[in-house]
Amino acid sequence: MFEKPLSRRTLLQGSLAVGALGLSPLPAFADPQWKKYAGTKLEVLLAKGPRGDNFQKNIKEFTELTGIEVESEQIPEQQQRQKAVIELASGKPSFDVVHISYHVQKRQFEKAGWLADLSGFMKDPNLTASDLVESDFSAAGLKYAKDDKGRMLSLPWSVDYFILYYNKEMFEKKGIAVPKTFDEMVAAAEKLTDPAAGTFGFVGRGLRNANMTLWTNFFLNYGGEFLDAKGDILTDGPEAVEATKLYQKLLTKYAPPGVSGFNWMESMASFTQGRSAMWLDGVGWAPPLEDPSASRIVGKVGYTVVPAGPKGQYSATYGDGIGVAAASKNKEAAYLLCQWAVSKKQGARLLQAGGGVPFRNSILNDQEVRNGVKLPKEWVQSVIDSAKISKLGLPVVIPVAEFRDLVGAGVTATLSGGDPAVELKKAHEQFRPILERSEKS
């Protein structure tokens, strides 16, 4: 996935400028007509989080560059998704630019035709900086951003790989090597679990819906595929059963009690308290783990890729993008803003703060940018290695929420003694008609 970047020279120029981060207000790339839409006013709907923060913190630079006024608001993820959908469905959204989460909304937004086609803009040198080319985005990013006709409906902003966080101190105490496979991970988890001392080998999301993002790492590495050629969902097959057995084993035998109610937050609490030795979750949690005011294990955290399963090694990948509402009257100006949000400068800041990982290879492969990352080198390495084994972590269908709820409930049920095959079958039978209904309409 991380092939060599295409146009070395322009990228080098770009990286030099990024090295001098923040010193110069001038754009680092061959210039589109930034000022053409000066005076336009844009409204932006953002999901709360490091991307939104990074956007709002530096938005003045965009206004200086273009003369475009930007009003933006950050809303917590769940509510932001609801607001976006309801407003877009009304046909008159209050925003021009919207932050979307690909793994949840891609198919829904495409089918409804809510996003403006950006392909034309990207080819227009008056609108697009020369370093912004499709091939600079990673394959997963392009897969997310393009519809089935190959049109770019959004710009990939930040990718989220699953990685394995581990507590080096606990591993060293028991003399255990970092697991490279699922079998080794289970063996390590067993050795590290000591309920009497209140320490456990593994922690991860057990909460319905949230748990699906963890579970799919197991599913993919057991050789699972979400959909067959006909578009039927395949989460009751042997791969899914094996994956669920592993999930059940790890979360019932080697995880803290109550894990069936854990989302990332509770998992992180257990991990930062030094009560759990391994945690499999999104790559974006490193900053709090390395923050002395939030974590007791600063400097003791190891970062590595998801261990290999019997049928492969993949890191379940999720991501978000930024796009222009089809109903917006200021599409060109809005596109300039999207372009700025995913620009090298903004992407480098995001990466260096650990707030997200840009989809653009030219940012990730830039040594200068990497050197500026404040987090441990191992973290950067795990990001780069994960990019090579990344695979979409959820099926690209409309009823993603139903999928996560139904299969997630089945998977959670195995934590209180449910049989994996039976629970998956049950979830499958509930989900299939929903999927069929959604594709029919």
Partner: protein, 305 residues
């Protein structure tokens, strides 16, 4: 109004717009706008395959036929019934007990009463967050308390079998004071003579409670039960903030499922169908309780006569 013998006047009366109409119309408009219209619209939506982002089509009662075949809905009905029953009965018992206790005269009674009704005044979401921490199996105070008396740690809201009782515990803690207030009102209305004569007859405290107090406060308990029932069946905030219907879907009530269908899956048509059925269930429950109350009332007057 006295009848006018004049026939022309009464004829005119027959067709003239009554003079009170201008005063009624604003109220009618408001009722039509905020009660009748939303209801008709909900019913109309429930007859459509209506998903946000997709064209809508009329499907008649298909959404309603989907309900009994949807295991999640059927389960959620059971969860609602169990949750409601428990969170009506427990506060009733504790509330009545607390009321008889606080009806006695003892020092600092007013102050202690005030303390006791504090839970009722707090925001459910804030309460839910505090209880979530208390329920935590490793760090929560509840398991610590259990360990003090030598009991094994519980999983509370993290196990499908104990999640509803645990949530009911929160609900009971919060709403017992309301029952207490209502019953206290009832108690203060009881005259003291029956107790005096009972004492002369040699009745003990339990007999006085069972045969004098309880029958006299029953109407108040009924009102309290009704309010509690309507509240409990619609309970959303506590469940949503603590478990979001989990683990799995073990604490998913109709209300939570309805929220998911309408605002997470954006299936407005099906969600409306659930809302209509849910409304009918609530009306039926309320009707049953009203009927029981009326019968009880009739019995009392009959008995007195």
């Amino acid at each position: 109004m006295p009848q006018e013998p004049n026939s022309t006047l009464s004829n005119r009366k027959a067709w003239r717009v009554p003079s009170y109409w201008p005063f009624v119309i604003p109220a009618l408009v408001v009722i039509a706008g905020i009660i009748i219209f939303p209801w008709l619209f909900t019913i109309w939506m429930s007859m459509h395959e209506w998903k946000i982002g997709a064209p809508t089509t009329f499907v008649g009662f298909a959404n309603y036929f989907r309900l009994p075949t949807d295991p999640r809905f059927v389960e959620s009905v059971w969860h609602t019934i169990v949750y409601t029953l428990l969170s009506v009965i427990l506060p009733l018992i504790f509330g009545t007990f607390a009321a008889t206790l606080f009806h006695q005269k003892f020092p600092f009674r007013g102050f202690l009463r005030g303390l006791f009704i504090m839970p009722m005044m707090a925001t459910p979401v804030a309460i839910a967050l505090v209880w979530t921490m208390m329920f935590h199996p490793q760090l929560g105070v509840l398991n610590y308390l259990l360990s003090l008396v030598g009991l094994p740690a519980e999983l509370w809201v993290f196990h499908p079998n104990s999640v509803i009782p645990s949530l009911v515990m929160v609900e009971t803690w919060q709403w017992t004071p309301l029952i207490m207030l209502i019953v206290l009102g009832g108690l203060s209305a009881i005259p003291s003579e029956p107790y005096e004569s009972a004492r002369i007859d040699g009745a003990n405290a339990w007999q006085m409670f069972r045969y004098i107090t309880l029958p006299l406060i029953t109407p108040f308990i009924f009102v309290a039960a009704m309010i509690r029932m309507i509240d409990a069946v619609k309970s959303f905030d506590i469940i949503f903030a603590i478990t979001q219907g989990g683990p799995g879907s073990a604490s998913e009530t109709i209300n939570l499922y309805l929220y998911s269908v309408a605002f997470v899956y954006y299936d407005i048509g099906y969600g409306s169908a659930i809302a209509v059925v849910f409304f009918i269930i609530i009306v039926l429950l309320a009707a049953i309780m009203l009927y029981m109350r009326q019968r009880m009332h009739w019995n009392q007057t009959g008995g007195a006569a």
